[in-house]
Amino acid sequence: MRVAIFLIFAVALFSLLGTFPTVPVSADTRGASLANGLIALTRFTGGRALYGSPCFLGLLGLLAVFLVGISLRQGSAWRTAEDQVRDQAPSAVLRFGLSDARIRGCVSLALSELRFKPARAGIVVKNRFGVWGPLGVHLGVLVVLLAGLMTYLWADVREVEIREGESLPLPREGITMRLDKFSILPYPGKDQAQQYVSRFTIKDDKGRRGPRELRVNHPLLLGATKIFQMRYRLEVQGLELEAFKEGRPFSSVRLEQGKTSAIPSGSLEVRFKEVLPDFRISPEGKVFSAGFIFRNPAAKILWRDPARPEAGEREQWAFGDRLSGHERPGGEWDFRVAKIYKTYSSGVRVSRDPGAPLAAAGYVVLIFSAFLSSFAIPRVLSVAAFGADGGSRLEIRGLSRRDPIGLEEEIARLAALVGKKAEAAR
């Protein structure tokens, strides 16, 4: 038992080590050789690497071996308890003036009131099914560990980013999935997302096509592969910019990310620096982002007049309408964002994990067994009445390794109840 407790503590404390960030060990640090020796021995350099280190895996393996051993022993634990209860020292010895036959009657009534059932001659039990609780907990943990091993050895889990219009082949399933559109569904009137949706067209080897939707918490099951919605990325590829000169429409130009374009008549060189999906203007005139959903986009435009190189490159915000721009001090040139060309990439996790169903089964066993183990604690009592000194003597022995204090309370309750019944029978 003590070794098991030590092992439990070791696994708990060891696993916590991995939650702390990696600390690099430099050669000139005091004790560096010891640290490096440990690293060489355990192949653990700190952080999450711990969970794949042979040392930690070995510890989990040892835990699994213990679980197997304990599970095998627990199968016969109940029978042992029934055998051993008569060897215990009496927990209560009561004397009555009634005959032993009448006391046996009182005991029988009291035991049935306390929901004890006869097992063998002179031995009564309660919550016998509770013996499966600890066994189930041990087996449940063992199954989850086994599932973890299967995941470690055979799971294929990848993070993939798919751009709108791109396809992701799943050769094992004979399927290709094409991302048609990625959408962020906001809460009505708010800037918070209530769901992220990737709309796919699934095409199989036989050329059959069908639409499927992927949402957070609602994975797509394609054969044995599961697809999970994880994250997204927005890429602004370019924008359509209208230029106004002295308040009059002058020309329009398509700007591309990272490139400088010329206004068609050659009067200006323009590029954009950043795009805000939903802008606001502070009372001080500062433009800032108010959300991530494209409602009122704004673009920071950098422009330069080649005819006047001494003026340098100038910076100006352009909005979806010119009114916002006019509220700010402007000059000869003024701009409007007519259209934004953007593409979303959907970050998905592609998982083929044979351990997952086994882990779920292990958890179910674990949950039920944990409740059973806590709320149905088996008790074994040996109750014997003998004739003595013109009356009778009652000896109660009990055994409950899991809850000795509860057993004592139960025996005290039984003794009190028998006393009460004997009093009534007198």
Binding site: Q194, P219, A359, R401, G406
Partner: protein
């Protein structure tokens, strides 16, 4: 209705229970019970009102869970009081709830819409189970501390031995109550993680600390099998384990990088 009011009321309840334990005066004990029950009723009203406003149970951020935990700790004490009427434990329960309310000052009380990842039926099972477990462990830590305190001071007589035995039994039973709920919380969290993140176990710091906490309580239950282990050592393990609960719930979010940052 702000957290300060509840902090004050729980603190008052705790102080009255401490006084009732030290003075054995009926009027003080009754006042503590009345104040405690009144505080619970008021807090329940607050939680229900917030749930109706948000149209979801109060389980989705630090502010709400601190309120829930403070409420559950005192509620569980009053439920346990039917079997173990030990005023000293009421003092610890009231004090714990007051401290939890005090720490809610750093959390935002705003009702924010749910993040997409939290929009799942598993939320109710996972968070509720975890918080009932946490509250029972808080109470168990209170009884363990009370055990260590009573064990360390005072005269060694029959009454004290009886009280110690009661507190030892209470600690064990409360942990037996919380343990399957923590198991349920961790297991449903893992199943939910599989649905949401595509992995049932990520070794995320929150998961890892919850796992370590579960292991320490498992160790405690094994310690109780060993008759040679002194109850004092078992009580010390309960206090240590509650330290882990606190770090899992509170510390991980602040000091470690976790997928559970919203919690």
């Amino acid at each position: 209705m702000n957290a300060g009011i509840f902090q004050f009321l729980y603190l008052g309840t705790g102080i009255l229970f401490f006084l009732a334990f030290s003075g054995e005066k009926k009027i003080v004990r009754r006042s503590a019970v009345v104040l405690g029950c009144g505080t619970l009723a008021l807090h329940l009203f607050f939680l229900v009102r917030r749930s109706l406003e948000a149209w979801r149970p109060p389980l989705t951020n630090m502010y709400e869970t601190l309120h829930l935990l403070a409420f559950l700790v005192t509620l569980l004490f009053f439920l346990a009081r039917f079997k173990w009427p030990i005023d000293l434990i009421g003092g610890f329960a009231g004090l714990t709830s007051a401290l939890l309310m005090a720490s809610s000052a750093i959390a935002s009380p705003e009702i924010e819409p749910l993040l997409p990842v939290l929009k799942s039926n598993w939320l109710l099972f996972h968070v509720t189970a975890c918080f009932i477990a946490y509250s029972s462990f808080a109470l168990a830590a209170g009884t363990a501390l009370a055990y260590l305190w009573v064990d360390g001071v005072g005269r060694r007589d029959g009454a004290r031995a009886n009280l110690l035995k009661k507190m030892e039994g209470m600690t064990h039973r409360i942990i037996l109550f919380g343990y399957p709920l923590l198991t349920l919380g961790i297991a449903t969290g893992s199943i939910w993680a599989q649905l949401s993140w595509g992995r049932y176990w990520n070794w995320d710091p929150k998961e890892t600390w919850a796992f370590a906490t579960w292991m320490i309580y498992t160790a405690y239950l094994h310690l109780k099998y060993d008759k040679a282990v002194h109850p004092r050592a078992a009580a010390a393990v309960v206090v240590l384990a509650f330290g882990l609960v606190l770090f899992t719930y509170y510390g991980v979010n602040f000091w470690l990088s976790t997928l559970h940052q919203y919690a």
